[in-house]
């Protein structure tokens, strides 16, 4: 039902609104094509060539998505960007105490992805994963009606979003967002270097 549900929902609502008057066929009938995002999950099917003996072992990754979450994509973005660059355990710990509806969905998605990684993608330790990519996308939007003063009509958008997460095996990078890229000593050295690089033009 989930893979074709957006189109069914539109049919259902169409009928809801025009119940009494018209008997028309809906915009899409049985076995309409699903418009759920598919390309993100194709990364899970990519097979890498066998590695030589001396090479560093390639870290395993798993891509997972949760589609048509009844939540605004802009609000979900805040939760998605909180989790980026954290280890899976840390992310779950933090999400358990984030006071947002989206945190529940993100936590479920991460737990599902962790389970998939262990069962299908040959990840040895389920805690040895970190969140490499985590972002939200716009899902379907169902338009409703509200009334304003003076006989005016307004539109209400019931928004759905998709959530995508990619877990990678190994230790997370020290600072994913590069909040403190340079220490004070490094900043001083950089400034000195830029000062010394200056040249008076047309001179030796």
């Amino acid at each position: 039902m989930n893979r074709i549900s957006p189109n069914f929902c539109k049919v259902e609502l169409f009928f809801n609104l025009l119940k009494s008057n018209l008997h028309t066929t809906g915009p899409q009938q049985a076995w309409a094509k699903s418009d759920l995002p598919k390309t993100f999950l194709t990364f899970n099917k990519k097979i890498y060539p066998p590695q030589e003996i001396g090479e560093e072992p390639r870290p395993a990754f798993v891509c997972h998505q949760k589609t048509n979450i009844k939540y605004s994509p802009e609000k979900l973005w805040y939760v998605a960007s909180l989790v980026r660059g954290m280890t899976v355990d840390e992310a779950i710990k933090q999400l358990s105490f984030v006071n947002k509806k989206g945190a529940v969905f993100v936590k479920e998605a991460i737990l599902e992805a962790q389970k998939l990684a262990v069962t299908e993608h040959n990840v040895e330790f389920k805690s040895n994963l970190w969140i490499a990519e985590s972002f939200s996308g716009k899902g379907m939007v169902i338009k409703g009606i509200r009334r304003h003063a003076r006989g005016r009509i307004g539109e209400v958008r019931y928004q759905y979003s998709h959530y995508f997460v990619r877990l990678e095996e190994g230790k997370p990078p020290l600072d994913y967002y590069k909040r403190n890229p340079l220490t004070p000593q490094q900043q001083l050295d950089k400034w000195l270097e830029s000062m010394r690089k200056r040249k008076i033009i047309n001179s030796y």
């Binding site: 809801n16 060539p49 169902i142």
Partner: protein, 312 residues
């Protein structure tokens, strides 16, 4: 409502002072006058939003039928119009039982010599089956068939390693196809056939008929003693089984099947007979979490108190 006098009159208001030290709120909203909430809700048209992440498998069939009716969908067809054709049997009929210690004795011992000279002519049922095969297939010869069987075996494994599904279907029956491809998805398999330690030998043959007397299938068991190399890599190119350098001696009893009544039937790998005395397989390099032991419920017997007075 939270700040009204009515709540303060109720007896619950008379709580001990210790609980009133921590500031707490009984409602979540701070709106100073929430009396227009109902009016605001009435401005919006109520819409039934669909539950997109509902699990289809958890719905009962009655609920599913109701949902499909609501959407104006026809139920699925209760019968199957697609005919099916039996092109391979479901198993091995009267399977070969390999003698214990086959191929284990040293090459120079007498037991080994005896094993190599085991004639198929002494097994009457197998000879009858081979005669039946020859009645359909004039050019059938046990010795030539052995070489043909080895070629089919090598080609089947090579097409599995190359992930060539169409070629695999030609060398493997429908029953054995899922068993061949099991657990090989999203993996790279490197298989090499080095050489044959002993020439392949037909050890068993049987013929069976399915459904009607004329529909005959022949099953011939061939014994292979070969040296092979196998290396399996996971999706990311990391070695998970076998090795690129080490070769292994493999003693196998492969059942080949052919649909004799079918003009276009070919000999294909059908099954493998694994004897009870076969050596255990190499342990896998993959690890699993040991499941937690189930909590043992301790039944506490309640001691029935015997009353001091007998009649109670």
């Amino acid at each position: 409502m939270a700040n009204s006098i009515l709540t303060k009159i109720s007896p619950l208001w008379k709580l001990p002072s210790s609980t009133l030290i921590q500031p707490s709120r009984s409602t979540t909203s701070k709106h100073f006058n929430p009396k227009y909430k109902k009016h605001r809700a009435q401005k919006y048209l109520k819409i039934d939003l669909p539950d997109t992440n509902e699990d289809d498998s958890k719905l009962s069939p009655e609920k599913m039928r109701q949902k499909m009716k609501e959407r104006g969908l026809m139920p699925p067809r209760p019968w199957m119009e697609r005919p099916f054709y039996i092109s391979a049997t479901g198993g091995v009929f009267e399977g070969y039982v390999p003698p214990e210690g086959d191929g284990k004795a040293s090459l120079v011992s007498t037991t080994r010599a005896k094993q190599t000279v085991q004639l198929l002519e002494k097994k009457s049922k197998s000879m009858m089956a081979i005669r039946k095969i020859k009645s359909y297939d004039e050019d059938f010869d046990s010795k030539e068939f052995c070489n043909e069987a080895q070629n089919i075996y090598i080609k089947a494994h090579e097409s599995l390693a190359n992930n060539d599904k169409y070629a695999l279907r030609k060398y493997v029956t429908e029953k054995a196809y899922p068993e061949f491809r099991h657990n090989s998805l999203l993996k790279t398999i490197r298989w090499k056939f080095l050489d044959s330690l002993e020439p392949p030998r037909v050890v068993h043959a049987r013929c069976t008929d399915i459904v009607s007397k004329e529909n005959i299938f022949a099953q011939v068991t061939v014994r292979f003693h070969t040296r092979q190399q196998l290396a399996v890599y996971d999706r990311f190119g990391r070695l998970i089984h076998g090795s690129e350098i080490v070769a292994k001696d493999v003693l196998e009893y492969i059942v080949f099947e052919k649909h004799l009544s079918n003009l276009y039937g070919t000999w294909r790998i059908h099954d493998k007979i694994i004897p009870d005395w076969a050596p255990p397989k190499d342990p896998s390099k993959l690890t699993r979490l040991k499941p937690e032991p189930e909590p043992v419920s301790v039944v506490v017997e309640e001691e029935v108190e015997q009353p001091a007075i007998a009649d109670k």
